[in-house]
Each structure stands twice: as C-alpha cells, then as structure tokens.
C-alpha cells in the first residue's frame, strides 16, 4: 500500500466517524423540529428543539433492565444491530454536493436491505423479550415490513430500470447515477406522471419505515403499551430512539436523492466554495421540507390504521400505484 492510499484509508475512517456522528445529530435535531412542528400544528408550544438530545442522554443514565424471559445477548444485541445498520446506510448516501463515502455499484439495493434491518432487529428484540404484547407487536412489525417492502422495491427498481434504459452502461443502482441524472429530466409526460406516482409511493412508505402514525401499529401505545419496545428500557431504548432518528434522515435523503437531487448553486450562478456551502444548506432545506411532508404532516393528520388496513394499504393500494408507475414508465419509453 502506498502512502497516499493509507492516507485515503485513514481519511475514510475519519469520514465514517464524522458522518455517523453528524447523522445522529441531524436526526435528533430533526426529531426535535418534528415534535415542535407537530405541537404547533396542534396549537401547543411543544418541547424545545433540543428535547430529543435530552431524552437520549436521560435514557443513557437509566437502568437497563433485561427481562427474565429474554435471552440477554439477543435482547441487547438487537438495538445495536438496528443502529449500526442504519448508520451504515449513511455511508452510502450522498448529501447534496457531498458524495457518498462508499460508492458502489449496487448500493441502492444494499440500502433497501439495510433499511429492513432495523425492523428485523426490532422484531427480534421484541420476540426475544418474551412478553405477549411485544410478540404481537413484533408480528405486526413483520407483517408491516413485508407489506411496505413491495412498493419500496418497486419504486427503486423501476427508477433504476428507467435510468438504465436512458443511459445503458450506467451504474444504475448507484445513488451517484441518480443524483447526476434526475428522473424528471429523462422521461416524457407520461413518465413524468409515473415518476409522481413513484414519489407518492415512497412518501407513503416512509411513515411505516419510521413507524409513526398512521403506521405505528407495531408500537401502538393504546393497544399494546408500546408493543415491540414494551420491555426495553435505558440504553437499549435510547439506541432504538437513535435508530429512528437516523432513519428519518436516511429516508429523507433517499427521497431527495431519488427525486430531487438538484443543487441550487447553478441557479445562483455560484461556483467554488460558496456554491458548495449553498448546496449543503439547500440540501438541508430540502431535507426538512421533505420530512415535514413525509413524517410530521402525515402523522399529525391521520389516525392509526389497523394492521390489516395498513397491510392492505401497502400490499394492494400502494403496490398497484407503484406498478401503474412502472406501466407509465414503460409506455413512456416505448412511445
């Protein structure tokens, strides 16, 4: 290994750490904003924006109880797995003008898989806690996971396919390709419609990924007393909270990369360093707007669905929308 490659290696490690820390911070920060906005929508003052940080630190000092029926290493391992897999996704995401740390040809697929991991970890943790509420919650989480995965996968693959048709030979499942070739630019009017449908699909999948109302059935407070998380406390709970916060960033960024990868600097005819800064800022603005609609607004304006309703909403309604999107895309390409 040459000196420069060692240097790059070290740089990557540092970058990894930086992104992990930043991701967590941005996630918690947005969570605070989310809670504040939701409160304002509900005519309340709401918690201070730093509240999620406080909650996190609070949870860290709390006692970490492992219930008697649980298998300790699985019970404790689940939250770590959830967090690690979510943070890993961050390494594959480009943030506005900052390219992804690890770019690979198949990273979009990898992300889809990694997105399922926290849910799986949650299910495992829930099952392993040995409480019947948690078991029912875990079953629901599983059902929900299977339901929303289909529309999610449809969206991702259709977009990749369309991109591939437009630019054969491009590394299509690499997010870099998406961010350099916005989907809106390569399709005709019908494809445009298809892309809107796909965007809609992704937006609706997001609340389930983040298990917020109306798709928080697995954790339903009023039915299952916290569902899968019912036995978790202290540090483990904190890790799950973190996971959720980071996942929020991930989902927001994913939407941006797939659908709104535009930068603002060309518009302002900036270049060089100022452009870079502007783009980063613009990215955050986009992130907040996207998350407002994907998370805050949806969760405030809807009631929780029952698991069968949620499941059929995804498996039937949303998948059909995704497939119609596919159809539009295909027709658009053929004509």
């Amino acid at each position: 290994m040459s000196v420069s490659s060692i240097f790059i290696f070290i740089l990557k490690i540092l970058g990894t750490l930086l992104i992990a820390v930043l991701g967590v911070i941005i996630g918690l920060f947005y969570k605070g904003i989310d809670r504040k906005l939701a409160a304002l929508l509900q005519s309340r003052v709401g918690p201070p924006i730093r509240q999620p940080f406080l909650d996190f630190f609070k949870l860290m000092i709390k006692e970490n109880i492992v219930p008697k029926n649980a298998v300790p290493w699985i019970f404790n391992g689940a939250p770590v797995l959830a967090l690690v897999s979510t943070i890993t996704i961050l390494f594959y995401l480009p943030f506005g003008p900052i390219p992804a740390l690890f770019a690979n040809s198949g990273d979009l697929i990898l992300i889809v898989y990694l997105l399922a991991m926290p849910a799986v970890a949650l299910v495992t943790g829930g099952f392993s806690s040995g409480s019947s509420y948690a078991s029912i919650g875990a079953q629901r989480e599983m059902v929900l996971l299977m339901s929303y995965e289909l529309p999610l996968v449809t969206t991702v693959i259709v977009l990749g396919w369309r991109l591939n048709l437009a630019f054969p030979g491009l590394k299509v499942f690499s997010l870099a390709s998406f961010s350099t070739n916005p989907i809106w630019g390569i399709v005709g009017p019908l494809g445009f419609l298809g892309a809107i449908l796909l965007l809609f699909t992704l937006v609706i999948v997001t609340p389930a990924e983040l298990s917020v109302v109306p798709f928080d059935t697995p954790e339903a407070e009023t039915e299952l007393a916290g569902g899968v998380l019912v036995e978790y406390s202290g540090r483990n709970l904190a890790l799950f909270e973190l996971t959720n916060a980071v996942k929020m960033v991930v989902m927001g960024t994913l939407t941006i990369v797939l659908f709104f990868p535009y930068n603002i600097s060309p518009l302002l005819s900036l270049s060089g360093f100022p452009a870079y800064i502007m783009d980063i800022l613009f990215f955050f603005v986009k992130l907040f707007v996207v998350l407002f609609f994907e998370v805050t607004f949806i969760r405030v304006a809807l009631a929780r669905l029952k698991i069968d309703q949620a499941s059929s909403a995804y498996l039937i309604f949303l998948s059909v929308i995704g497939l119609i999107g596919l159809l539009f895309m295909a027709v658009d390409y053929l004509i």
Partner: protein
C-alpha cells in the same frame, strides 16, 4: 452512571390508577392538551413502566391494585421518582374508611412529591413537577439528603 441534569428535563411519566374516581386522571390527560401542554418540559406519557422515570399515582390504593402498584414500582428502571396526585392517593381522601382501601400510596412505596387537591388542577400537577425538580436538584447537590432519607426509612 450519574443522576444528571438531563434527567429533570426529560421526565417520562407512567400514569397508574389505583382506584381513583377518574377526576385526577382526567386532569392528567388534560395536562397533555394544548392549554397546559407539559410536553414543553419534555414530559411524555408512556405506555409501559419500563420507559418511565416518574410514576404518577392516583387513587387511594385498593386491595386488588396493591400488588400491581408494587410490581410497577419495581418494573420502573432507576433512577425514578413518584408523584402522588390527588387527595385520595395522598391520604385516602374521601375513601379513608373503606375496608378495601389499603392506602395511602406512601404506605407502600416511597413517594417524592404529594399534590393535594380533589381533583388537582392541572397547574397544581405542574407545580408538583416543579417540586420534584427542586428535590432532584437538592439530591444532586448533596449526598447528605440521601443519607437522611435512608435513615428516615430505616427508622
């Protein structure tokens, strides 16, 4: 592990009814609603004692709920605080002479703050939280109080 400043600012609350008339319970729910909105203090109502930092206990403790009260106290991870809301939890209130009431709450679990009232006004509960903050700050400030508390209990 340390009982630090973050604890006060993110109190998650589990509400336990041990046989109350619902008056206080309603006021606890009212606390969350826009007029009072305790979420601004980071207070959040949670569905399981495992997530809780504070137990809000209402009701005079009847026989059937007693084991549950103790169990829930045990299930709540440390550090934790107990706030008793309402006259009946504080002293038995109007239910003082029932054979089925084994309260008040402090006969069975250690209580940190009492909020008398029947029912308590939501603001009085906020005042109770304030008292709890003060107590926690004092506890952090000097270890002596804890020694005293132990001596009290042992006596």
């Amino acid at each position: 592990m340390k009982l630090d400043n973050y604890f006060d600012r993110s109190l998650w609350v589990f509400h336990l009814n041990t046989g109350s008339c619902n008056g206080c319970d309603i006021e606890i729910v009212a606390l969350l609603t826009p007029r009072y909105d305790v979420e601004r203090f980071g207070i959040k109502l949670v569905g399981t004692p495992r997530h809780a930092d504070v137990l809000l206990v209402t009701g005079p403790v009847n026989r059937k709920m007693l084991p549950r009260l103790k169990l829930i106290y045990e299930q709540t991870p440390d550090p934790k605080a107990v706030i008793v809301v309402g006259a009946c939890g504080t002293s038995g209130g109007v239910f003082y002479d029932s054979y089925n009431v084994v309260g008040p709450v402090d006969k069975h679990i250690p209580v940190d703050v009492y909020v008398p009232g029947c029912p308590v006004r939501p603001e009085a509960i906020i005042n109770g939280v304030l008292q709890a903050w003060l107590k926690l700050e004092r506890l952090r400030g000097s270890g002596a109080d804890i020694e005293k508390k132990i001596a009290e209990v042992n006596a």
